[in-house]
């Protein structure tokens, strides 16, 4: 899996992180690490481009969840604990969509995984990058 980072300017600065390849138990921690790096260098709004991700398992969902927590400034659990707890997602559910992490162009198989797990209830999904970037409000 490869990752590309791009900064885009809407109402606020939005980091677009494009994943290329399958996200599974062997590499989901790379996504978590990239999210930590981006947060430490100032990223607060992230659009995760999934157009080039043919496959994503529940391990990938751990990474998405961790990105969500990181961008909200929540404490950083150990990567291994991602397997044990899904953290504060219920708060996101109470508040509707997550404001700081949004998804772009998930492919049908990945969409099925997101829907099965209920992640589509709190992660907003867009088909167009410009539209997505315009919705970040800081």
């Amino acid at each position: 899996m490869e990752m590309e980072v791009e900064q885009r300017q809407g109402s606020v600065t939005v980091t677009v992180l494009k994943l290329k390849g399958n996200v599974d138990g062997s590499n989901y921690q790379q996504v978590i690490q990239k999210g930590d790096e981006l947060y430490q260098t100032g990223t607060r709004n992230l659009l995760l481009d999934l157009a080039a991700v043919p496959f994503l398992s529940s391990a990938g969902l751990v990474a998405l969840h961790r990105l969500s927590l990181t961008l909200r400034g929540s404490s950083q659990p150990e990567p291994e604990s991602g397997w044990q707890a899904l953290g504060d997602i219920s708060k996101d559910l109470d508040q509707g969509y997550q404001a700081n992490l949004k998804l772009l162009n998930p492919q049908p198989r990945v969409m099925k995984t997101l829907e099965m797990s209920g992640f589509t209830n709190f992660l907003e999904i867009f088909q167009d990058a410009d539209t997505a970037i315009a919705t970040f409000m800081g």
Partner: protein, 153 residues
């Protein structure tokens, strides 16, 4: 009954590691399609086997290399994938379904994988086998995932 080699394939990894997941998925893709499952059922089987193997490697073997055997077979009305390991006995069927009314934060992600398996697979079976060939005489876990050609029977 002797198995027809054109209807059965085995992937054997005596020291499987997490990086082997891609090989596992390719193996299922290659054979399940040839055996006649629809692409959607093939994709569902790929995800289910990936989740099962991930659980084995992460939880069963706790990240250490371990024995993994996958047998995929075409039968009259279904394709079966049997996933065998030598980790501690673990019957995924005993794991309760996640209660969707419970906040997600209280769910375990291992449970998420098992939930996926149940959701995607027509019939899930489990056996704990005693393997005489294993010097520690560990039972071999065997998880069987069955996809019918025409929906759930």
């Amino acid at each position: 009954m002797k198995a027809d080699p054109g209807k059965k394939a085995t992937l054997l990894k005596p020291e499987a590691v997490i990086e082997d997941l891609a090989i596992v998925r390719d193996f299922i893709q290659q054979h399940a399609k040839v055996f006649g499952l629809s692409q959607e059922k093939v994709d569902d089987l790929i995800l289910a086997v990936d989740e099962a193997v991930t659980n084995i490697l992460v939880h069963g073997y706790q990240g250490r290399p371990g024995y993994l055997e996958i047998v995929i077979e075409r039968n009259e009305n279904h394709v079966s994938a049997r996933v065998r390991d030598r980790a501690s006995p673990f019957d995924p069927r005993q794991v309760p379904d996640p209660d969707l009314t419970i906040p997600l934060e209280q769910r375990k992600l291992g449970g998420m994988g098992i939930f996926f398996i149940r959701h995607l697979i027509d019939l899930v079976d489990y056996q704990a086998l005693v393997d005489g060939g294993d010097e520690e005489h560990h039972p071999v876990n065997e998880l069987t995932l069955i996809q019918y050609f025409q929906g759930e029977v």
